[in-house]
Symmetry: C2
Subunit: 281 residues, 2 copies
């Protein structure tokens, strides 16, 4: 099975397209998990989050930056968290926004993607600025190992437009990237996807028509302002084709419900998002 | 002292602008260092390289991808290699091409840059696709911790032009990025620099005039085809302003001189590049 097929199956099995972002920030963790080192606290926290969300959602997305911030010990925790999430049946998207020139991109692709790799992730976020020969090694590994990538097209942050919205010829830069991603998606049965922010409702609809084949990873839901209505345009007419990420709004839900057990707040937030975003199959 | 001042001092002290890339590829390592795990072999190899080049050159650039490829153990080796290089008086540029939306970019910046950070690097390569609010957190840390960043402007790979050369209004995308980088360079005493490939001789000269203040990190010398003549345009009229990277051509020099001790081949290759690229102060 390709990554796209695995993702389709997982979304259908769980009945929703919710992606839970594992973005541990030490200052936001519940006190109960803050025992031992930062790395140990991250691992305890993410493991418990995985236990809560594994029966509910198709996939999780650990953000590499928050682990890398605390050095090798936290990277070790990340590796174990990825393995644990997969053992619970979750697909794991390593959010690293990695890339480099071709021969170096091969190292990222080989190391991060696929069950025999060091990190063992199912998919990776990738930056397009270095061009096609920097993306090719990832595409090759996607095919060989049934893995996926999500290429940054239109990111959720307010300043993303500085380059992405520049008019290049007859269309903005992000549409050039989108057309390129769609070609790769067609070559890989949809295993090359696109990152398109929930904060750009109009562009989500526009980009869905430019990329009929690609899966969309949609960040920016919840804390960053994207709503269920905003992301409707990301889905294909068959009701599939997008996964919508929420990090802080789920994993730090205890901050808004300090009277609950933190785990109960997380579970309630995940279930609330699933209800907000019914699959229309 | 700012990063730019530290780099200036180091280039003047060593009398050259050679940057040695630490890109360990297991299959290319001398047999003598291939004992134990991949991570141990990488650490032994890079430590010996550092011993050889520390008296000769101002800085080294470990490529994160080659360490990340082998998982947490190799990342631990990278952390010790960075520490060791700094203890030998070398500036260390963490080549990660990292970036993310603002609040996540803060984590990369805090974690990778500065002497109190987990990785303790002096500078980091950064990708611009996510726009200004993704770069700002790095700029802030550069100022606070006397660190530097090098933003990808015109990369050395053949396919880099796919986006970078797109005509956006009156000029190609890479010039838009260059103008932005120059503004940041002016605000930071030159501590925000640019990555411009040695393989684009004409653009190096063009971009030097667009970015009179920024330091250039110039990859692509040697194995990728860039020559001493090609990179002349990267330097300012005061003879400073650029560091020229060579990875494979120095660290794997033993492959071309199998009759020598591998360390002697590395030393000879580093000295040959220093001679090819005399500083014109």
């Amino acid at each position: 099975m390709t990554f796209s097929q695995r993702l389709t199956r997982s979304v259908r099995d769980k009945g929703n397209a919710v992606l839970v972002g594992l973005d541990p920030r030490y200052e936001s963790l519940p006190d109960a998990v803050k025992t031992g080192s930062v790395a140990e606290s991250f691992e305890r926290f993410c493991t418990e989050i995985i236990d809560i969300v594994a029966p509910l959602v198709p996939a999780v997305k650990p953000q590499a930056a928050f682990f890398e911030q605390y050095g090798p010990a936290a990277m070790s925790a990340l590796e174990r968290i990825i393995r644990y999430a997969r053992s619970k049946g979750l697909l794991v998207i390593f959010d690293g926004k990695r890339n480099d020139i071709g021969s170096t991109a091969e190292a990222y692709a080989a190391g991060i993607l696929g069950k025999d790799s060091a990190w063992g992730a199912d998919a990776l976020t990738v930056s397009p600025y270095l061009g096609s020969d920097s993306i090719d090694p990832f595409v090759k590994v996607c095919v060989e190992r049934a893995a996926g990538i999500f290429v940054l097209v239109k990111t959720s942050n307010p300043g993303g437009g500085m380059l992405q919205d520049l008019q290049c010829g007859t269309q903005p830069l992000y549409r050039h990237v989108a057309e390129y991603v769609e070609r790769l998606a067609q070559q890989t049965d949809g295993s090359v996807g696109a990152v398109v922010g929930a904060t750009w409702s109009q562009q989500l609809t526009e980009l869905r028509s430019v990329m009929p084949t690609a899966w969309f990873l949609v960040p920016g839901y919840g804390s960053q302002g994207g709503t269920a209505k905003d992301v409707q345009g990301a889905f294909r007419s068959d009701g599939l084709g997008a996964i919508v990420n929420n990090s802080r709004g789920i994993i730090f839900a205890h901050q808004k419900s300090p009277q609950s057990r933190w785990q109960d707040a997380v579970e309630a937030a995940a279930k609330a998002m699933i209800e907000e975003l019914p699959l229309r199959l």
